[in-house]
Symmetry: D2
Subunit: 176 residues, 4 copies
Amino acid sequence: MKIIVFHGSTRVNGNTEYLTYQAVPKEKGTHIYLRDYNVRPIIDQRHDETGFAVIKDDLKGLIDQMLSHDVIVFSTPIYWYSMSGPMKIFIDRWSQILRDSSYTHFREELSKKKVYLVAVGGDTPTIKGLPLVQQFNYICQFYNMAFGGYVIGKASKPGEIMNDKAALKQAAMLIR
Amino acid sequence: MKIIVFHGSTRVNGNTEYLTYQAVPKEKGTHIYLRDYNVRPIIDQRHDETGFAVIKDDLKGLIDQMLSHDVIVFSTPIYWYSMSGPMKIFIDRWSQILRDSSYTHFREELSKKKVYLVAVGGDTPTIKGLPLVQQFNYICQFYNMAFGGYVIGKASKPGEIMNDKAALKQAAMLIR
Amino acid sequence: MKIIVFHGSTRVNGNTEYLTYQAVPKEKGTHIYLRDYNVRPIIDQRHDETGFAVIKDDLKGLIDQMLSHDVIVFSTPIYWYSMSGPMKIFIDRWSQILRDSSYTHFREELSKKKVYLVAVGGDTPTIKGLPLVQQFNYICQFYNMAFGGYVIGKASKPGEIMNDKAALKQAAMLIR
Amino acid sequence: MKIIVFHGSTRVNGNTEYLTYQAVPKEKGTHIYLRDYNVRPIIDQRHDETGFAVIKDDLKGLIDQMLSHDVIVFSTPIYWYSMSGPMKIFIDRWSQILRDSSYTHFREELSKKKVYLVAVGGDTPTIKGLPLVQQFNYICQFYNMAFGGYVIGKASKPGEIMNDKAALKQAAMLIR
């Protein structure tokens, strides 16, 4: 079972990363820090005559990596009650991949994946983070991916996640 | 009552724009198309010793415009069950404004605003768009802004929004 | 197209009823006022050796009526952010019908129905009523019923629904 | 810290009870099994000239017990994606208590309580049970009660909750 983690945090060694490592230790699985890659925001050209323009960035490399693993973990700090910008930009671009003739297998391949979510927020995240969970669930439904579970941690200042013992424990039990 | 609309669509004259014009006609209010502006994704430096680095882009101009209006309409296509990337990037950066010594009035000024949401999606949006509505509600709560209401339209292909008579009617009645 | 409305209100001629009549006028469709019927709360005997005890109340008559219509409208005041007790009691008992040998067709028959929801609440219902909408959507999914749409009105005191012009208009357009 | 648990299950020794005992062992706290009490569904007479009719049932005894504890745990099986009928009936009647001249202290007393939720469902409860969580959160907000947290377990057949190790662990850590 090969695990890939997409880290959406824009801060190195932040609370979200720490919590995620309880679920997938650094030395296990492939850890992708989206902040280190260049992915352009989508421009919706689904209905353009010539379709999507080719964009030279790191998207396809990331997609290829994703498809070569069995389990996908999305790890994101909760920015304004939803996923971080870098993670949103990454996922938005899947719409382009869906129309890319080199990726006709994209949807079917994803349907074999199992997905987990790790999210950390500062403002009552176990309540206000629930819409985010529901959105990831809808994404999984769209691609027919199994949504294996999620952990929501509470933290704001550096290191604060250490106090959320319940979340740390949950993370450690997340992927079985 | 001065109205500003932030359009999050990346497609010109799309369904979301059309629906939004039922609520705020082009000639009424200030229409900002985020796709025409350069706003960089946030890098979370809240906890850096020196705070946020100065970023030269269009953010502050947009913020100033927002603050000079009474009513804010967020208009976004539903991309993967949440707001579009450009809108997310814009809102994420508010975290930086909150720490900017030139914007100590930011939070208080926003608390005087009334907010509306117009969203359009293709995949059962009146259900799967509800987490997005809840997230905007949480954003409003954070800033103590009044959330005046929302309209969710169903459309995917260009022009399809014309068929969602209920949403068109709702949009026309949205802002009173 | 035969329409049946289940009214969950415990007050005659309340706001929820008024709003519902905009969608389904009194003289159109079959109007069932659950408060006028005797339906016992479920006792979960799914796992008892002898199964559910026979209960002499009005449940089966209501179920038969429901199955003989094409469209089902659930009309409920929002009590503590979810459906009213009488409506909950009615729906809870469907679990018993599912195990009743006289109703082996129950689930399949329901899968042919189209469902609408009308709900009225006093405390920011267009936000705080959304979990209720999501729950009805899940019920529809379980039975593979089409969820045709919903209207949420705001009212508390008698007659107050008259002020919610947007909801009244939406209700009038709900069933097409 | 005195803890009271309201059990909404209609089955003795079911999965929900088992999970709840991990959070509050039988010998700790006061355990109320709502199925053993007679509580009538509310009839909304808030707007009647003479107000609510006096109802002779067990409601006030339960309310008095609730008010004499510091922590309230609501334990409910998920019936059709929301709380069980008996629990709904109990909470609906709080509207009557709010208007009862013997309970003018009701709202203020509740504002001192801390609330937890334990819920168990069979159909992807960690997703489809989230609206229920949001509803309890709104109830807590209304009364200004602190919502301390929740656990959602997955189980349907008797004993199945034993397999949900993560929920059992979470329950054991719920109340600190």
